[in-house]
Symmetry: C2
Subunit: 527 residues, 2 copies
Amino acid sequence: MSAVTKPSRRIGGRAARVAQREADSKMAHIDMPAEGYSGGQYKPLSDHDVSRIHTSALHILETVGMGMMGDITEGAKKILEMGGELSDQRRILFPRALIEDMLATTTKSWTLHGLDPDNNIEISHKGAHYGTAGGAVEILDFETGIYREPTLDDLYDSARLIDTLPNIHWCYRPLIARDMPDVDALDINTAYALLSGTTKPWGITLGSAENVKKAISMFDMVLGGEGRFKSQPSCHMVQGAGVPPLRFANDRCIIKEEAIRQGMPIMIASAPQAGATSPAALAGTIVQVVAEVLAGLTYANAIAPGHPCNFAAWPFVSDLRTGAMSGGSGEQALLAAAVAQMSDFYGLPSSVPAGMADSKLPDAQSGAEKAYTTALAGLAGANMVHESAGMHASLLGFALESLVIDNDMLGNVQRLIRGIEVTDETLSTHVIEDVILKGPGHYLGHDQTLGLMESEYHYPALADRATPREWQENGAKDIVARAKTQVRATLSSHYPSHIDPKLDAEIRARFDIRLPESHMTSTGGRW
Amino acid sequence: MSAVTKPSRRIGGRAARVAQREADSKMAHIDMPAEGYSGGQYKPLSDHDVSRIHTSALHILETVGMGMMGDITEGAKKILEMGGELSDQRRILFPRALIEDMLATTTKSWTLHGLDPDNNIEISHKGAHYGTAGGAVEILDFETGIYREPTLDDLYDSARLIDTLPNIHWCYRPLIARDMPDVDALDINTAYALLSGTTKPWGITLGSAENVKKAISMFDMVLGGEGRFKSQPSCHMVQGAGVPPLRFANDRCIIKEEAIRQGMPIMIASAPQAGATSPAALAGTIVQVVAEVLAGLTYANAIAPGHPCNFAAWPFVSDLRTGAMSGGSGEQALLAAAVAQMSDFYGLPSSVPAGMADSKLPDAQSGAEKAYTTALAGLAGANMVHESAGMHASLLGFALESLVIDNDMLGNVQRLIRGIEVTDETLSTHVIEDVILKGPGHYLGHDQTLGLMESEYHYPALADRATPREWQENGAKDIVARAKTQVRATLSSHYPSHIDPKLDAEIRARFDIRLPESHMTSTGGRW
């Protein structure tokens, strides 16, 4: 049995129960079916385009294949045993049959667990889910509005904020806690901040195979004992194991292998930059990234056939005039949507990056950049949309208030993906005849209107729909001002209590936890 | 010959020529092919859904038809002569054959002219074009940030700002000049502000049949003489002639008839509000609005077969909790995209509303609302996207700085519609082989990269792509601050001079023009 308590019993008596109910009401669950709403209504590529890209990617895998930076790894050896070939240039070439065998056997669906099962999400090539990814190296300071280095406190705060936001489906660590002294402290404390901050699924990037073991042993403690993580994986990793163009990196492959052995679901990612580490032609970048991800999937399945994996083509765009990455460009939206469509063509679950604003702060620029990238990704059939909340400056920056703003936007985006239901009833011919030929000539108060008010329409929590006059009377606030109010209210009160204090003490005894207990209560005075 | 001079010769000598060159450089032309980029990659409805909606709309036209508010009009009489039937409830019923005949004969393509032919746009059921529509009754004051009533000066300023913005393809009057004493002064001065403010195509809503004649006689003067407008229509009108649900209004029909006789292209619009004047079920609202627009098109073609018209289904969403219109909702984006798809099914040019933010000012809320509504409309195949720049508060409000911000966003949106080119060359297999097997292992400086830098990528004018550090060093400005700088620079210098002073004097002699000449020069001190 899990050692996680729900609700927890940190404090006793009636006051405690009231406090708990309030806390529970803020622990908003995911606001859609666990399998998500199905995209695919948007197809940036024609069927013929898809087929040509697929054929070209197979050709590249046969003729160019993947280089290996460093010694040949165990996974690479297995690929060679399974039919891969080592070229004169020490490149691993993938015959078409090897890729086709992998496509037939690789996992088509899996579950990403939350500590609270109501937050589980079902991953396949159908539904769309939205969450964060990493890892910003700067944060827009909530008080000063000036960028600074993020801390472990910021990470914990972002996790418990996400815990309350129904349209963000997991908490991948969105920022790097730069107050940690080394990679070991960073990895362990990142894991701890996630598991203590939210009962939604987690995501983490770890710096060594040893830290994969350590993090999972900590997750096991929370999940109820050794081996529990493997049976209900609650944390995933974006791990490319490659360095574009078309190379495996020995050190990353070793981390990936360990994560697979430990049962951690992997986003098999490749993140080339068009015009720098992949062709400047968008179609050419898609060909290369598809080849890289197919190679990475073959690698993962060579280690553990059927391991939970996503096709995670993450092609990036840079501004070719300056070399600066542009996560908010139209080209970025097209690339993410196109690779989601490619993954759908293979019938595989996908991960794509979207929501990466170029803008440094939540303004009209970031609003537009985030909206068209996240909407088109989901409508093109993406299954896990990473980087979809909180991010700025093309992943260099992060803002707490943007989590709240983006959660609101993602509610609308999920409404778009849900689409229009067309049935005998919704076509409403009888309602129209009724209202006009027999009725009052309007639909206000009609049974259908009252019946559909809640189900057909999504009501955002933060977006303002008042008239100019009402809005001015209410203080003429923009969405940032409203979001900041919500951030402060949440972070000053929502200190999740799903980890039993006894268990917390055991974790602290076993691991070098740097998050002070005093920072994890409302009396700590941080907010 | 046109009396419009290009460049004009208001002032003489070298200084004048320099000034003229500067003015010309700011008179940015439309930044895409005249026929627009082709959408259709996004299909919110399945083919089966489309077919059922079409059948249901025909059924409604046969059984419920259109009521008539007021006396039966000339157009309605013609419909009855052509096979329409008057029901016991005094409703005009449309047999299926009547609609099918109209669909076969109605215009499939036409040209909306600019005063400068480089600004002409070609309208069909293929390309997407973006522009403004009306009509805000409040403006966010540029200096104070407080909403106030708009003036004729504001309208003239918005026209000349649009004149410089390459991704806004026409200037429909976006606001109501509320300093005009009556509808006649409003109509005439609105026409004048448009024609003197921009050489892009215009759009106007007029309050009487008499004013249609007057406005077109003014346009004729500018175009070179009586009858010129008819041969090169440079102004269009959104004119529904109906009052949902399913009624013609006598007074609006009379305006529409006059506009058709005068050769003015018409957006055959119907704008029901789901849950109030059309069913709360989105599919039902689509059925009703399709029926209304098919009836309106039949009406227009009864007056003048083949007259330039667009299928302008404008279904609106209101927040059913409060009754407030919500132009920025996900449901609004779905409805606009779906009716664009219906129009495409008929092979007709369409107009849909998108870009209507609920937000009262250009913030992250408005950025998101505008982006997903305008992107999905174009991707679904909309041909003229009205309301796509400058609008706030679900069409109640307008902001000059939002024209500049939205122009930037629309550049990205048009890049999305342009899509990904897949050819032997762009698939880049030879480039990939070349770079990795023989070359430097990266694509920087490759011939393909240098060759595609300008053509494959769109570079926004206003969006900031700097790092947090660079951005902070540059003053940490949000997009509103940058847009305001551009508005001020443009409006203090760009006073279009395409109307010859002699012609201007003739217009002023013939019409009651309220825009002071002193407000139309940089020495006027308004900016």
